[in-house]
């Protein structure tokens, strides 16, 4: 029987290491981009904030945010690829 989400202790350890490594790379990447982009990214993908709310925080339009977030994602992918993370 295949159980979703079930892991044993070894998997847990590996998972923790992976999470830390990837989180560190994402953090590194975010620190290299302008503040308003960091804020938009964190708002959207950490807090799951609505674009309206992020627009209020950043002063950007929703459409601009949509484009910008898309670009950040693409840039992030390139960043991670460049560091050996297969995407």
């Amino acid at each position: 029987m295949t159980i979703v989400g079930k892991t044993d202790s070894v998997d847990d350890i590996i998972d923790t290491i992976e999470t830390k490594e990837l989180a560190a790379e994402i953090s590194t990447y975010l620190k290299t981009i302008p503040k308003h982009k960091r804020i938009a990214f964190v708002g959207r993908y950490y807090y799951f904030a609505e674009l309206d709310e992020i627009a209020e925080v950043t002063g950007l339009t929703k459409k601009h945010l949509s484009v910008m977030l898309h670009r950040i994602r693409q840039d992030l992918i390139r960043h991670l690829r460049g560091r050996g993370f297969y995407l």
């Binding site: 989180a23 990447y29 975010l30 981009i33 302008p34 804020i39 994602r73």
Partner: protein, 658 residues
């Protein structure tokens, strides 16, 4: 061990976990900005004061409390947002899927998919069956073709299409304008984690504006009307962003858009460089790939087909288009039987007792062979064996309800399911002892697959404004202080907004949704659980995958327009489009590793008889050609060349001049 049929969900959850583990400073930065914004917005009692140094500080406003609460709740939300994660960051998630399977996230650089064999690019001779491969391949510029023709030719009782088209001669002039390589340099002040810093960056777009112009000469003594088709290699997303403009005799045309199927193939998660399942006519190409690759393929046949393998060189398009079947299929207008569908929708969730990190509902049912169960909103599953199945989802909390109108459906086709029951759990593990009392409403309705599919697709894109996300930024090169610096600027933003407007004007949102519906419905029946192929990538039956994939995969799109050519006269058709430089993401050992590729085909897929074809280049002293088979010599002022009809493929590799 993570099982393959649930990796996608687990990876999406993992992604959320990962973002949840980013540096606290980054989170605090958002909190601070949000607090200040809320202070400014509320403006009823000013919480903004100046300290002795003149810096603006803020006291926690009412809404700041909400942020703080959110922050503490964030940990509890981990794992609840797989669906939105998949929609927002699907590419990252795919990477994690493959990585998490072995518990090894890092691969050696250079070992990525489609790393290519390097070596010299192809010569123009179309008998040469090698070609430069790219990790990002935009596809060549294709020639115009004629779908049908009408005309009353004298001295003939047989006015069929072929005969009429034979009366037409075409000349073609294609121009590559590299103005987008113009540098845009700006200085700006930005807050980095180390404090305010003045930075500058210089960027340019690695694109060419391509104008492809045709004169169609009618050599008969009768007026001829043709339906001309212009093929473009693009995903729907690309099409919406970069819609080519088509004019007929100088007048802007409104071409019909017809989409071909996914042009690539599928491969195993750990297969690099060869395909295991062909989506279209690439079977022949595989036959030519040689024994070595055949051996690889044999081993890969055992692998589940989890990854896309998009076409990475012009030879892929050659195989796809040369026999005409792809075009015929695209215009065949395949209609799928509108099957009956039984829909089970779950909503009105109430946690009656207990609490959990990730409260979820697991729905158990029995499905006989031949019954397919698709889903929306479900993101996990078990297969206990036999005819028994379990699918589940995390129930939305109040916060989630504020940001998304999630729906949770099982869509049954080919019969019905039975023995339906559901059980609440405190997490998605569904372990014994983690049961929770969660009540929900289950509604059973009968409809048609097409109707519910369209409804869910519209719902999906109303939630995730992703399909018309313009301007990918794929082809922006930057030479900023920090190589990782992105390329936003006031000018860039203005350009984006302009391009967004232009794109929206060319293809309305309703038209976009209709195109997506047609593509996605076809995709479901061609590659999804309802298809004979039933590609492993989609066996879970999650419609969100189909919705997203149909928009993002490469295909050949045809722009068609009616053109009248007077007897003995001519008509002019001009297509203006952007060709993005094809490239690799990292050094794979090829020559000219930083060059961008631009290419065209002279006759592939076209039934036109060309009297001449010429190519021109407008370089603006911005670029140099490091490899080519056109015959340009920019130093000698040779910017226009005649193309040889016997050469099917022309390419050039471009580098920006320093």
């Amino acid at each position: 061990m993570i099982k393959k049929d649930t990796q996608k969900e687990i990876s999406a959850s993992k992604l959320i976990q990962v973002i949840g583990a980013i540096d606290e400073q980054l989170i605090t930065e958002y909190d601070t900005a949000s607090n200040i914004a809320n202070n400014i917005t509320s403006n009823t009692t000013s919480n903004i004061t100046s300290d002795t140094t003149g810096n603006i500080t803020s006291k926690p406003p009412a809404k700041a409390t909400k942020v703080a609460v959110r922050s503490s709740h964030r940990a509890k939300k981990i794992g609840r947002y797989s669906a939105i994660a998949a929609a927002c960051l699907i590419v990252v998630a795919v990477g994690l899927i493959t990585a998490s399977g072995l518990g090894l996230l890092k691969l050696p650089i250079g070992g990525g998919a489609q790393s290519g064999g390097g070596g010299a690019p192809i010569a123009g001779d179309d008998t040469e069956e090698t070609a430069r491969t790219y990790m990002f391949y935009d596809g060549p510029i294709f020639p115009l073709t004629i779908l049908s023709a009408k005309g009353e030719l004298n001295n003939s009782n047989d006015n069929n299409d072929t005969l009429i088209i034979s009366q037409i001669e075409a000349s073609r002039a294609i121009t590559y304008d590299f103005l987008p390589y113009t540098d845009i340099t700006e200085e700006y002040e930005t807050d980095t984690i180390d404090g305010p810093t003045v930075k500058k960056y210089t960027s340019h777009r690695t694109e060419a504006v391509v104008t492809d112009r045709y004169i169609l000469q009618n050599n008969s003594n009768a007026d001829i009307t043709v339906e001309a088709a212009y093929p473009v290699a693009a995903s729907l997303k690309d099409l919406f962003e970069l819609t080519p403009k088509l004019t007929v005799d100088g007048q802007q045309a409104e071409p019909e858009i017809t989409t071909g199927q996914y042009s690539g193939s599928f491969m195993g998660a750990w297969s690099f460089g060869t395909s295991t399942t062909t989506a279209n006519s690439q079977d022949q190409q595989n036959d030519q790939d040689g024994q070595n690759q055949q051996n690889q393929q044999n081993s890969q046949d055992q692998q589940p087909q989890l990854n896309l393998r998009e076409i990475d060189s012009w030879l892929g398009y050659k195989q796809l288009l040369q026999d005409g079947s792809y075009l015929r299929d695209a215009f065949a207008g395949v209609k799928y039987a509108n099957q009956q569908a039984i829909v089970y929708e779950f909503d009105e969730f109430v946690i009656e007792s207990g609490e959990g990190v990730n409260p979820s509902i697991a729905v158990s049912y029995t499905a006989q062979e031949g019954v397919d169960v698709l889903s929306v909103g479900f993101h996990g599953g078990e297969y206990p064996g036999g005819d028994s199945f379990i699918k589940g989802f995390s129930i939305p909390d109040e916060q989630r309800k504020q940001v998304a109108d999630d729906r949770y459906l099982l869509i049954v086709v080919g019969g019905d399911i039975s023995d339906i029951s559901y059980q609440g759990y405190s997490n998605m593990g569904w372990d014994d002892g983690t049961e929770m009392e969660i009540s929900a409403t289950m509604t059973r309705t009968e409809t048609t697959l097409e109707e519910i599919f369209r409804e869910m697709l519209n719902h999906h894109y109303s939630m995730y404004d992703s399909y018309n996300n313009p301007i990918s930024g794929e082809n922006v090169e930057s030479t900023s202080d920090n190589p990782n610096e992105s390329t936003d600027s006031a000018q860039q933003i203005a350009e984006d907004e302009q391009l967004i407007t232009e794109a929206e004007q060319l293809i309305t949102e309703d038209e976009q949704l209709q195109l997506i519906f047609e593509a996605a419905y076809d995709y479901l029946h061609s590659y999804g659980p309802l298809s004979e192929r039933n590609i492993d990538r989609y066996t879970e039956g999650m419609l969100e995958d189909i919705f997203t994939e149909a928009v993002n995969v490469d295909r050949v799109v045809y722009l068609t327009s009616e053109v009248n050519i007077p007897a003995g006269g001519s008509a002019e058709i001009e297509i203006t489009q952007t060709q993005r430089g094809s490239h690799d993401f990292f050094d794979t050992g090829k020559s000219h590793k930083n060059a961008k590729g631009y290419d065209l085909t002279t006759s592939l897929g076209s039934n036109l008889s060309f009297t001449s074809q010429q190519a021109s280049i407008t370089d603006h002293d911005l670029i140099k050609i490091v490899d080519q088979n056109f015959g340009f010599d920019l130093d000698q002022g040779i910017n226009t060349v005649q193309l040889k009809p016997e050469v099917q493929y022309y390419y050039m590799l471009i580098e920006k001049l320093k």
